[in-house]
């Protein structure tokens, strides 16, 4: 089990974040600021927010413009990476 996990770790592109994901921490940082922190949010929540920003269902000043640059699949990958502790 453990060696299988290690193999998986070694084989997977350890450094790579999904496209766009590493840019998010440019704005989303510590809790308590004007820009909401993503810490502790689930992948489902983050992905749903991105979709809502993209469709305009959730109004925003900046995220509506950014979310339009990502497909559903990309948004989900970003959400999972961030929820998994990526920064």
């Amino acid at each position: 089990m453990r060696s299988a996990l290690l193999l998986l770790l070694l084989a997977s592109p350890a450094a790579a974040s999904p496209p766009g994901a590493s840019s998010c921490s440019g704005c989303h940082g510590a809790p308590g600021g004007a820009v909401p922190s993503l810490a502790g949010q689930s992948a489902e929540d983050i992905a749903a927010s991105l979709t809502a920003f993209r469709t305009g269902a959730r109004p925003a000043t900046v995220m509506t413009r950014i979310a339009k640059g990502f497909s559903d699949e990309e948004s989900r990958a970003i959400a999972e990476w961030i929820a998994g502790g990526g920064q």
Partner: protein, 418 residues
């Protein structure tokens, strides 16, 4: 692999010997990062966190951040709010060599430092920022900048311009000159114009500001022009290229700024000259005839010298503007690509984001955002995404974007410098 001569960084050796986290597996090799600004400090952090042996080369002990420096010029915040050091990076284990990169031998993979020592690398990341072109505008050189500050590198120049504004006569004239593209921070000159106008309106209402621009169109133009009309009528006079806005010469002795049409007498003159990548880029052979550095949009590897990567203002990043946000985003993508390359993996095509805020008055912010991806060898806009704040936004949105701007600055400087 050749051995590293580390006279300059001996103090860091102990830290380098600490065990690395699991991510270090597969990533072998030595990386040198030149320049401890928004791009370089970010790259060093990401590489170190992944367990790569990285040395950050930066001569200054204090980094003076440009974002929000226009607020300092307008007397809205202290210069000390722009100062950051490298103790945070050191504390997290990054080796900081406090010296300048003097020469780079791309074929040998070696950086010669100003103190005479050398660092060998498998991959080099350059984020050296800009040089002001003191050869590009007749009359404007380093000495002239002491009388007519550019304040386009923050620190002493920021302070000088702020003091000149505070000391000028009540009915004085400020002249601000803006260069043609490309230059650091496309909306920066217009934010500066706005905040100087705010300063005049509130502190010296009989004074005026003339903005001389070598362009006819600029970033967030509609938003700036709308705000100027509403907030600064009779104070801010904008002269575009088509109306003779291009500055052709300056005379710091007479304090005059000349265009082909007119010569303006200034009490305070802020001259933002044309720019290029910092000298180390040309010395490394990674700058082309434009003065900037062509790169591969997936890895940020130089098109001219293999194993050297360039991020931030020095790079030709296609549709991405020269901003701190962009430098930070590029550094992360580049560092990940370097980790992949060292481990023999092929980096995936990235996407990058940029967001730039400008304040036109306290509590009145506007923004531009973009999403970018490699396309036909350059970084291109993802169509349908990005753009500026709506022109018809209510005051609440302007206030919100001003708050976002403050928060962005706090977040990014903390993430980069600790």
């Amino acid at each position: 692999m050749t051995t590293i001569v580390r006279r300059a960084v001996l103090a860091g050796l102990a830290a380098a010997a600490l065990p690395r986290p699991a991510l270090a597996q597969g990533a072998h090799g030595r990386v040198v990062v030149v320049g401890g600004g928004f791009g370089g400090a970010t790259a060093a952090r990401v590489l170190h966190r992944a367990g790569v042996a990285v040395t950050l080369v930066e001569p200054a002990e204090t980094y003076w951040a440009c974002p929000f420096s226009n607020e300092v010029i307008a007397g809205l915040r202290p210069l000390s709010a722009q100062a950051f050091g490298y103790d945070g990076l050191r504390a997290s284990g990054v080796i900081v060599a406090r010296t300048k990169a003097a020469a780079i031998d791309g074929a040998a993979g070696r950086v010669r430092l100003a103190d005479g020592s050398t660092l060998d690398y498998d991959r080099l990341i350059l984020s050296p920022g800009i040089a002001l072109r003191f050869d590009a505008l007749p009359g404007y050189d380093a000495a002239a900048a002491e009388r007519m500050p550019h304040a386009w590198k923050a620190g002493a120049q920021t302070d000088l311009l702020a003091r000149q504004l505070a000391a000028m006569p009540d009915n004085g004239t400020v002249v601000l000159s803006v260069p043609a593209n490309p230059y650091r921070c496309p909306p920066g000159p217009y934010e500066r114009a706005s905040l100087i106008a705010y300063f005049l309106k509130t502190r010296k209402p009989r004074a005026k500001l003339i903005v001389l621009d070598a362009k006819d169109t600029f970033s967030k133009q509609k938003l700036f022009e709308q705000a100027w009309k509403a907030l600064y009528p009779g104070i801010l006079d904008y002269v575009p290229l088509a109306s003779g806005g291009q500055v052709t010469a300056v005379d710091p002795g007479a304090m005059t700024v000349a265009t082909d049409f007119e010569t303006y007498k200034a009490d305070v003159a802020c001259i933002i000259p044309p720019q290029r990548a910092a000298p180390i880029a040309a010395a490394a052979g990674v700058a082309d005839r434009s003065g900037w550095c062509p790169i591969d949009p997936v890895t940020f590897e130089s098109r001219l010298v293999p194993r050297i990567h360039v991020v931030g203002d020095a790079a030709i990043a296609g549709a991405m503007p020269k901003s701190a946000f962009a430098a930070n985003a590029q550094a992360k993508v580049c560092a990940e690509a370097v980790i992949d390359l060292l481990a023999g993996r092929v980096p995936e095509p990235p996407k990058l984001i940029n967001t730039c805020y400008s304040l036109v008055a306290p509590g009145y912010g506007i923004s531009v955002a973009g999403v970018y991806r490699p396309d036909k060898g350059v970084l291109a806009d993802v169509e349908g995404a990005g753009g500026t704040s709506p022109v018809d936004s209510p005051d609440t949105v302007r206030r919100q974007e001003a708050a976002y701007a403050e928060d962005w600055y706090r977040t990014i400087t903390h993430a980069v410098f600790g």
